[in-house]
Symmetry: C2
Subunit: 210 residues, 2 copies
């Protein structure tokens, strides 16, 4: 492990949680830096030119864009792994990266990242596969947003994002409503109706389709 990073005893466990980083050589990790970012901080801003690639070790960061009327739109939620990797070959970021839960971020200069892609087969395959997964996830999300009713969107969400017909509720339902592009009222009502009709089972922390 890179000595500069190894100094940070507290972060060892976090680094261990990112298997892809272990694919990088000591040389490649040499230029990496670790930063702590408090809630509300911004990792980067729209319009800036990407100079580093960031890997989220802990916390939560959202990619956000604002409509002309000021409404925030969440393009992506990240709880770990590389952030805005798809923007790196664009001349500018097209969204803000907003820290939603206090975060620890490892940042790597673009040159090191690109070098690793070219020379490190395992790393390259891992990143390539990760991009493919993201594309499939985004397609599923688009498919979901195209569904006309709240119930269909919720069902689709549980089927595609959950496992075995159920999802864990590790955050408030309001957050889920945002992801389904519903108001929280609409989601609450839909849940009530579905539970009433026996189409869904609801416990404190789990939603299960029946």
């Amino acid at each position: 492990m890179n000595p500069k990073i190894a100094q940070a005893q507290d972060w060892q466990a976090l680094l261990a949680g990112q298997p892809e980083l272990r694919l990088l050589t000591t040389d490649e990790l040499d230029a990496a830096r670790i930063t702590e970012l408090p809630r509300e901080a911004q990792l980067f801003h729209r319009g800036e030119t990407p100079r580093k690639i960031h890997c989220l070790l802990s916390g939560e960061i959202h990619l956000v864009r604002y409509s002309r009327r000021g409404a925030a739109m969440v393009l992506a939620r990240s709880r770990d792994g590389f952030i805005a990797e798809a923007s790196l070959d664009a001349p500018r970021y097209h969204c803000d990266a907003l820290v939603v839960v206090d975060a620890v971020v490892l940042s790597l200069p673009l040159a090191a990242y690109r070098g690793a892609l070219d020379r490190n087969t395992d790393f390259r395959r891992a990143r390539f596969a990760a991009q493919a997964r993201e594309i499939r996830r985004l397609r599923a999300q688009g498919e979901r947003l195209a569904l006309p009713t709240a119930e269909e969107r919720l069902t689709h969400y549980i089927e595609t994002e959950g496992s075995d017909g159920s999802i864990e509720l590790d955050r408030p339902l309001k957050a889920l409503a945002v992801e389904l592009n519903l108001t929280h009222e609409a989601l609450y009502r839909t849940l009530a109706r579905m539970a009433q009709a026996g189409r869904i089972e609801r416990t404190a922390k789990v939603l299960r389709l029946r």
Copy 2:
């Protein structure tokens, strides 16, 4: 150029239209085959295991999934280039590939494609960048589908997919309506209202924001 492919005189022009294929070596192209597919044919079916990667040379192919009620959902429209590249590392296709306009397809065994990714730096960079573009496009599409009204979705579409505040209408408005996840009636009415109010300019083949 690969002699087996070169035999197909008619397809030379089509191959020239795919700059990425020229990045492949003769060896890599050796295993490629070209197929013609009529409208309504399927290039692959949901549930099949991917064994080849397909590059669309001409025509149009849609990736389609069907809801339980049988409603078709178009996950992606392709008019040229690699198809369902993101599904290759999945054990099965999760959608059907439906030929919408008579198509010519070049198919390459997965092993040849993966070998090219590993050994051919230019090809790999090109594919990596293409995936990143696709991710950005899908994010923009998700953002668009989350907009509440027909007018906002249309405006967003013209702003992000068009150039300089206008788009060319090279296909019927009904097709555009599907992409905006609207009924064609809703789109027609929205266009009429916006034109009436002077917020959009409409000619036979172009839509322009004002």
